[in-house]
Symmetry: C2
Subunit: 208 residues, 2 copies
């Protein structure tokens, strides 16, 4: 373990997931408490969950959809973070995720600030973020040249970069979000932050 003791934690997220949002509000502070950094990696659960796993969207799954509807606001209370339900359907993370990757290649810290803004737009203000224009607005607020961003996210290079990001995540076994990989240990779900913390603290599952 020692050689990886300071390796970044991979944090897989999708902007459309409220649980991804919840995790995004916690992961940086959790990692910092153990001297770790976070490598933010966008994925598309429309591909992992729906196409590869062959499951239905949560909201179309009987029983679980009601549970999740009850769970989201209480998870926000538990974590002490703002949360607003939106009634959006058909929204997706493609433009925002491409923009994230474009920003990350230039300035990873800026990209994370952008990710927080997109999450806040959807899950705090309850506004759509699907269009390139919405994505550009959030980037522009951070001083990013929105014309450059709008051009970049339509390039084949960036389309492929997002496709590759998803493929690489799947190759590592990532399916839902949030998903964390620390020192090779895969951990799924905001309800397992305690488990990630135990790993960061102990480097094992049986205590130090």
């Amino acid at each position: 373990m020692l050689q990886n003791a300071r390796a970044p934690i991979s944090f897989y997220f999708d902007f459309i997931s409220p649980y991804g949002y919840f995790a995004s509000t916690q992961i940086e502070a959790l990692a910092a408490r153990y001297g770790r950094t976070v490598d933010w990696r966008p994925v598309l659960i429309g591909i992992t969950v729906l196409k590869i796993m062959g499951l239905k969207p949560l909201m179309d799954t009987p029983l679980k959809s009601e549970y999740i509807a009850h769970d989201k606001p209480r998870m926000a209370k538990l974590l002490g973070v703002p949360f607003k339900e939106h009634g959006l359907r058909g929204h997706n993370s493609v433009a925002a995720s491409r923009a994230f990757l474009w920003l990350k290649a230039q300035d990873p810290v800026l990209a994370v600030r952008f990710a927080h803004r997109i999450y806040a737009r959807l899950w705090v203000r309850g506004e759509d973020f699907t269009s390139a224009q919405a994505v550009a607005e959030e980037a522009q607020a951070l001083g990013v040249d929105s014309d450059k961003l709008l051009a970049a996210i339509e390039t084949t290079a960036l389309k492929n970069a997002l496709k590759d990001a998803v493929d690489q995540a799947v190759a590592l076994g990532v399916f839902g979000v949030p998903f964390f990989i620390a020192d090779g240990e895969p951990i799924w779900g905001v309800d397992r932050l305690w488990m990630l913390e135990q790993w960061l603290r102990d480097g094992s599952w049986t205590g130090r």
Copy 2:
């Protein structure tokens, strides 16, 4: 909350679920720490998950099946409980769950001891528990008249009792296992024992 402060925690379980087994090793002690008792309630996830929710078995779900295979032994380590993977397919909880309900109607404490034995048979020793004979063996080891048990689990009354138990659970929104309901709060998953504990401690999601 005060009027329910000592209400039992409903613990929904299915013997075929390893996560149900993991929860079964923790729930009594957790409840007792907060002066609560546990009402053990069998459900059949073959009905809730497969038929009502329309999902596939975990082990037939790409990506998640590999994650679960990795997760089970580490969860056992985390909780400090014995665990053995079995290669069984096609096993089911029907006979054991009927026997549990028959025992519970006579002696709830004995029924819980029986449940622990069935869980140990499947998840500690890795032996099948599907047949009425296997179920009767475990009950007999607790001094139960196995002939009476074998007759009882074939009665229409007990068949209906299990069917009703599943229907009632579904009506309350129970789907997977383990599933806990404490003071009306539904909590799903052994990875959320921390959340159940917070509720029992605080009676709210925002602290005491």
